[in-house]
Amino acid sequence: MRADKIKQPLSSFARKSGEIFILTAKAIALIFKRPFNFRLIESHLYLDGIKSIPVIFLMAVFTGGVLALQSYYGLQRFGAEVFTGSLVGVSLTKELIPVLTGLMLAGRVSASYSAEIGTMVVTEQVDALFTFGVNPVKYLVSPRLIALVIMTPLLTLFGDFVAIMGGRLVAALVVHQNPNLFDSQLFVSLEIWDVLSGLIKSVFFGLTIAVIGSYFGLKTEGGAKGVGRATTTAVVVSSVIILVSDFFWTKILPFSLR
């Protein structure tokens, strides 16, 4: 009985991981099979990417601002407040903005993917796709995956820029640091690899969000309640994967620990 209690969730975890892996492989392979659904990709680029700009902007401005503030006062304790620009630039582009962008999209996009696909499952629309010879993975998952793999790094880059500007603004207006000092420190210490390592991670985060949202959508059972459950699970699981995998990415990506 007790062994069962441990074994069952473990085997279910293993099975689901396997299924998610297979779904990812299928969705990628089917991208290259005709017919190509450019219209679907386009609509996801717009709905899930472009329309996420406002939330990413807000998140980035305030994250950059508060980080500049805290860094300034923290560094001031040992008289190093001139380095605010360096510290802010590096922490934002390497870690904070990629991860927070991922989490924002996990909430906004992964939820909508699982809800939309889940509703299609419970109303037999996914079955209907098959009866028209259309592979649901190709029609529903592949375009979402392409859209997010393109959009997540772009949004992250946008977030990097906005956050640094936010930090610079706060440093200038609130603590009255000379913006030239902020800039010179930023350019002296920020390296291309800091930004790139964040962007590489964000490609993976985009893939995670698309696949996890789609997977739990496709697995939906039993009506409105099932759709609700799928949505919650998709958001939680994709957020956890982003947070945990971020640590390992940081360990393995070259230069990311310099």
Partner: protein, 248 residues
């Protein structure tokens, strides 16, 4: 020809199909009748490859679809069209895009030809000027008819209708009966219909099969079914609450 052999299917511990045997002749209309919850829709989903049986086989033109790989199934399903009991319209697409769904990737058709087919298919089910609406803007009966138009437009060789007339007014129901008869008149087209509507069953069928407690308990022409001696079938076609069928 479609041949279903000793098909079994359970969900958890609930046995739904308990050895279904049925032959569906090519070019004919076969109607399946049976109580609500007796497994008719589940049987349909097996025939088109949406569900895998626990045991048994389904031969479509000699090939066992229960043993097919995914890519073989996608090739197979091209022959089929299925009107879902729930309609299953794609709710993010317009009515027109729904109707064109089965033909939009055909290379031999341009946009004008497709528009023509959309209009003609909708007309056949008594609808017009709704191609630009979304499924959410339709009544229940209209959704059902769009679902029928969507399948007719694809011109499949084997058409499966899951309760095509349920939820329609009597005149509209008869119009759909006439449409099924017209479509099935083509000897290249095999129709399989699920219905509770005995008027429709007698009118459209070449053969009627009765599903009861997970098995096909009787098959025959409409005339043979009408004159059956089987008490269970009698009770069903006459629509009586009293009889050997126990309502639990």
């Amino acid at each position: 020809m479609i041949e279903i052999r000793d098909l079994h299917k359970s969900f958890a511990d609930k046995k739904v199909l308990r050895g279904v045997n049925l032959i569906i002749e090519p070019g004919q209309t076969t109607t399946i009748i049976g109580g609500s919850g007796s497994g008719k829709s589940v049987l349909f989903k097996h025939v088109i490859g949406l569900m895998k049986p626990d045991s048994g086989s389904i031969f479509v033109e000699g090939e066992d679809i229960t043993k097919m790989s995914e890519s073989e199934l996608y090739r197979m399903v091209d022959k089929f069209g299925m009107v879902f009991q729930s309609g299953a319209l794609f709710d993010s697409l317009s009515v027109g895009a729904n109707v064109a769904f089965g033909i939009k990737n055909r290379k031999d058709m341009d946009a004008a030809a497709i528009d023509l087919i959309i209009e003609r298919s909708l007309n056949q089910v008594g609808l017009s000027d709704i191609a630009q609406l979304l499924p959410a803007e339709l009544s229940g009966g209209m959704k059902k008819r769009v679902a029928i138009a969507r399948v007719i437009a694809k011109e499949p060789a084997i058409i499966m209708f899951d309760e095509p007339t349920t939820g329609l007014d009597p005149i509209m129901a008869d119009m759909i009966n006439e449409l099924i008869i017209k479509v099935s008149a083509d000897p290249a087209i095999t129709s399989i219909v699920i219905t509770h509507d005995m008027i429709s069953a007698y009118k459209i069928s070449d053969k009627i099969a009765v599903l009861f407690e997970g098995e096909i308990i009787e098959t025959g022409s409409p005339e043979e079914i009408r004159n059956t001696k089987n008490a269970v079938v009698r009770q069903f076609i006459e629509g009586k609450a009293e009889g050997p069928i126990k309502i639990r």
